[in-house]
């Protein structure tokens, strides 16, 4: 089976590196790709510019989306996905440090598939990476990326 791609939209470089390490620790169940802000996430999904090369930038099976990012934030990415049906089948898991009820409900209203508050306990983060794979790749049925 082909290795599923996890796209991580995260402006904090250190957080993204930590996530990459955990993905590797969890037996590379995902191939992790990283974009530093919302605009890059949209470009990646659209295949704009350098992201057009799908051998180097394969379409993801799951998007882990931070909310507070420069350029375009997570909400903008969610809105873009709502307006572009070609990515309707891509599950988006919001991954934010905010547990403000208004952020959560706004994310779901914009079509987020799940909302996870960033755990600060490293062990919990590792469990989360495993769980993400188990749920979104193992159990969840998604429209294959086109």
């Amino acid at each position: 089976m082909k290795q599923p791609v996890l796209l991580v939209a995260e402006d904090n470089e250190l957080d993204a590196l930590l996530m990459l390490r955990l993905v590797e620790r969890c037996g590379n169940s995902f191939k992790m790709m990283h974009v530093p802000h919302g605009e890059a996430a949209i470009d990646y999904l659209r295949g704009a510019g350098e992201y057009g090369d799908r051998t180097q930038y394969p379409l993801p099976s799951l998007l882990l989306l931070d909310l507070k990012m420069p350029r375009k934030d997570g909400f903008a990415v969610l809105r873009w996905r709502q307006e572009n049906l070609s990515h309707a089948g891509l599950p988006i898991v919001v991954f934010s440090s905010s547990n403000l009820p208004e952020d959560v409900s706004r994310a779901f209203a914009l079509g987020a598939n799940s909302y996870v508050v960033k755990p600060s306990d490293p062990d919990r983060l590792e469990r989360l990476v495993r769980a993400l794979h188990e749920w979104w790749v193992g159990f969840n049925v998604a429209v294959p990326p086109r």
Partner: protein
């Protein structure tokens, strides 16, 4: 529960102010006439018969003046009565109430002048009418003079009211800005902590074997400090949230809340082997579900945590209701207890009585704030058995 059935109210028109006013006017006129009759100043016999030369002895002219004067007089009396009532009821909230009273006096005397006009039609009491006019003139001039210096003060008052309204809006804006600020500070502070903890973990996991035990111990201490700071920020955030979140007071079943709290504390309960007794007939109280859960989570968490080494926590939650409107809930434990002289300050933020136990000193401050927002009371005393603590709080019954 109150039920409001639609009722037919046949006398509803009576409550209209104009109707009331007309009825009282009519009664006053008739009553006045009867009084005059009693004092042998016959009104009814003299109708249409004014004294010499008065209003040309023309009945229509006389009635025109009499009716108008009576109505004006009654209206003046009614206005001054309303003003006095207003000043009496709200004297502290109305500025310049003495001016209002003077104004009332002025209006009463104006009314009297008009009543005199009516009397003069039938009796030539010109002197008396003149004296009443002198009184009216004095009151009028006094009110007029007193009113002048008031004008700038009224403007100041209006300006002050506008200012305080502006300030209220400003404060509201500042408050919501501060809330957003608190939130982003808390979240932005936690992000680097995640880094410290995460990379500490990475260091330990990836290079642990190559590190001397002291180095590993240092990493552990560093991570524990970071975790502690994270707890602190989390608790501060919770404390702020409890103070500002919108609450919805409605009937909350105590047993459901207690069950969900027990589920939240399951790990701690299992680890310590704590024994928790729930009330036999848990009542329904007026509260906000989330806040009540926070209260129990902190109180139960403390009861399980603060026990002497080797002691199995035994916690009893009981409910008493002495017929009043409040339900009293007690949480009694067999823990290390709180010395009597420290009981006053346990609810203060950052107050830590037992530094040997880990904690932020915010939990009970959160509880206190939550109970306050729910309109209840809270206190602490020694457990009846002598060892341990009993927290009690009262909430309105549903």
């Amino acid at each position: 529960m109150t039920t409001s059935a639609p009722q037919s109210r046949p006398l509803q028109w009576l409550s209209h102010p104009l109707t009331r006013w007309s009825i009282s006017t009519l009664l006053a006129v008739v009553g006045g006439a009867l009084v005059f009759e009693a004092f042998d100043v016959s009104v009814f016999k003299r109708i249409g018969m004014a004294h010499e030369f008065c209003y040309l002895r023309e009945p229509r002219l006389i009635w025109l003046h009499v009716i108008s004067d009576v109505l004006i007089g009654l209206a003046y009396v009614s206005i001054s009565a309303t003003l006095s009532y207003l000043v009496y009821k709200a004297s502290r909230d109305i500025p310049f109430n003495w001016v209002l009273l003077a104004f009332g006096l002025f209006i009463v005397s104006c009314g009297m002048t008009h009543f005199m006009e009516v009397w003069v039609v039938w009796e030539p009491v010109y002197w008396m009418s003149g004296y009443v006019k002198v009184v009216t003139a004095t009151a009028s001039v006094a009110t007029a003079v007193a009113l002048f210096p008031l004008v700038p003060k009224v403007f100041l008052l209006i300006e002050a009211a506008r200012k305080s309204e502006r300030r209220r809006v400003e404060i509201e804006q500042l408050n919501s800005e501060l809330e957003r600020f608190n939130y982003s500070v808390a979240h932005d502070l936690r992000a680097p902590l995640r880094g410290i903890r995460g990379y500490g973990q990475a260091l330990r996991e990836d290079f642990g074997e190559r590190l001397p035990p002291v180095a590993k111990d240092y990493i552990e201490k560093m991570q524990r400090s970071a975790a502690q700071m994270d707890d602190l920020i989390c608790d501060l955030l919770k404390y702020a949230t409890v103070g500002r979140q919108e609450i919805e007071r409605r009937p909350v079943a105590l047993d459901a809340t207690l069950q969900s709290v027990q589920a939240l504390l399951e790990a701690e309960i299992r680890a310590t082997g704590a024994q928790i007794t729930l009330p036999a007939n848990p009542p329904v109280v007026m509260a906000d579900t989330t806040l009540l859960q926070t209260v129990f989570q902190n109180l139960l968490g403390n009861a399980i945590k603060f026990v002497a080494q080797g002691v199995k926590p035994v916690v009893e939650i009981a409910v008493t209701r002495d017929g009043g409107e409040m339900v009293r809930i007690t949480v009694t434990d067999n823990g290390i207890g709180i010395p009597p002289d420290a009981r006053a300050q346990v609810f203060r933020i950052f107050e830590r009585l037992h530094p040997e136990f880990q904690g932020t000193g915010i939990g009970l401050a959160i509880v206190h704030r939550a109970i306050e927002r729910l309109g209840g009371k809270i206190g602490v005393e020694a457990a009846p058995t002598g060892t341990g603590t009993r927290f009690w709080f009262e909430l309105p019954a549903a």
